[in-house]
Symmetry: C2
DNA sequence: CGAGAAGTTGAGAATCATCAAGCGTTGTGG
DNA sequence: CCACAACGCTTGATGATTCTCAACTTCTCG
């Protein structure tokens, strides 16, 4: 099976943004096979040698870091059009685990060849840098979340972020399925799963969100937004 | 005043890592003026157009993000040999503030020219990517800190990180001056300044660290390390 | 259909925040 | 050069948020 960025409906979100048709075709040649990853299976693990980055064609992933004592920190949830593996560039070894949350498919982009091509194709170079920078900005947002928001604010920010990303892909921003468990959400938000569950219940009681297990319907967007702008409690 | 990467004692830490002498000289030509920034002054502010990245020649900075309601989240403390401004690449606008913690000096690297040269100099391209990736990995470490560690663990991890960075620059890993206030440390670690202060006092009582205002002497390195490997409390 | 995983809810406990007072250091102007 | 003000830091008492432990319900999947 061949991948073809030029044919892909994600090219407005993914690496090809801003590239000419000819250049995207050069990128096509570079992108190796696609790879399917089944639910719960790792795309890569911390410690493995770094060789490629991955663009998510379809599905959902989480990335996490483990401490020796078993503590897990989920560092992100990635969906179609987003990139995985950037952490490996610095040491040439992956520093986190990437695990599929549902049956998924990624485009494998051999890293040495990406560097090669991006020396020739300015648009690719530029977009790749933007993707890395966007990841840094995203991480700062998560720090803000973890460092200065209380539980309900964190969950509201999380839902609003998901909503926006679904919207950017042409899905409903108001109604969607969570691919991750309460425990995984909790790990990402620095909360225990019970706290996440209680916050969901509270949102439901207040009419902000209709929650039915993993099915979410946002009923009061401005209410959720207002929640985040409350004065700091910590 | 001219900057010259080839003359700089930080070239083992900074962008020139792994580049040939000739290539570093090309980088010299690119690096514009140095810029001095006085204590408490911003190098750049969130919202300003992005034009250059900065390598810290001398001094200390903090980067922070502000929420509308006035909450501040410090996203990092940067010292000599480290890079500032990478967040601006994604949107071509700076997304955080960079403020000098003491009188400092940076090398200004015009971004468009950096992209230009890194298309020609493979070593520069590679090192620049590593620098960005390292920032992502660092951010994941901070998430781990904020999301799954308790107050004393966070402070211990913070001190160990500083120790290691001083060491890499040829300074004592055991004795150093903090350039930031308790409030800034607290913001970075997701804690209130009182909590930071209490944790310092506790470390002092336990003989782990001698604290005298901003002067720090690590007395029991393994004790500090052990502290982080305690079972999770949250 | 049953077993295990995931989610919800309650009660009590722990950690950290808040509020408040006081001390030490630094820097400036008389 | 000293005095005083401002700022940063420390410490104590109290309170709020979130965690922990536990029981129970609901959903999922073989």
């Amino acid at each position: 099976m061949q991948s073809a960025c030029s044919q892909c409906n994600l090219h407005e979100l993914c690496l090809p943004v801003g590239m000419s048709i000819e250049d995207v075709e050069r990128l096509d040649a570079l992108v190796g096979a696609r790879r399917k990853v089944r639910r719960q299976q790792p795309l890569y693990r911390a410690g493995e040698p770094f060789e490629a980055i991955y663009a998510i064609k379809l599905g959902w992933f989480k990335t996490d870091v483990l401490l020796e004592d078993g503590r897990e920190q989920v560092t992100g949830f990635q969906m179609s059009g987003e990139m995985l593996g950037l952490d490996g560039i610095s040491t040439e070894v992956h520093t986190c685990n990437a695990v599929a949350l549902e049956d998924s498919e990624v485009c494998v982009i051999p890293y040495d060849r990406l560097e090669e091509l991006s020396r020739e194709v300015e648009g690719l170079q530029h977009q790749f840098h933007k993707v890395m920078s966007r990841e840094i900005v995203r991480d700062h947002g998560v720090m803000m979340l973890l460092g200065s928001m209380r539980a309900e604010e964190r969950l509201a920010a999380f839902l609003l972020n998901l909503s926006q990303r679904f919207n950017a892909r042409g899905f409903s921003p108001a109604e969607f399925h969570l691919r991750m468990t309460r425990d995984e959400i909790g790990s990402y938000l620095g909360l225990k799963l019970e706290t996440v569950s209680r916050a969901f219940s509270r949102f439901q009681d207040e009419g902000l969100v209709a929650v039915q297990q993993k099915h979410i319907r946002i009923q009061n967007l401005t209410g959720l937004r207002r929640l985040i702008q409350q004065p700091a409690a910590r």
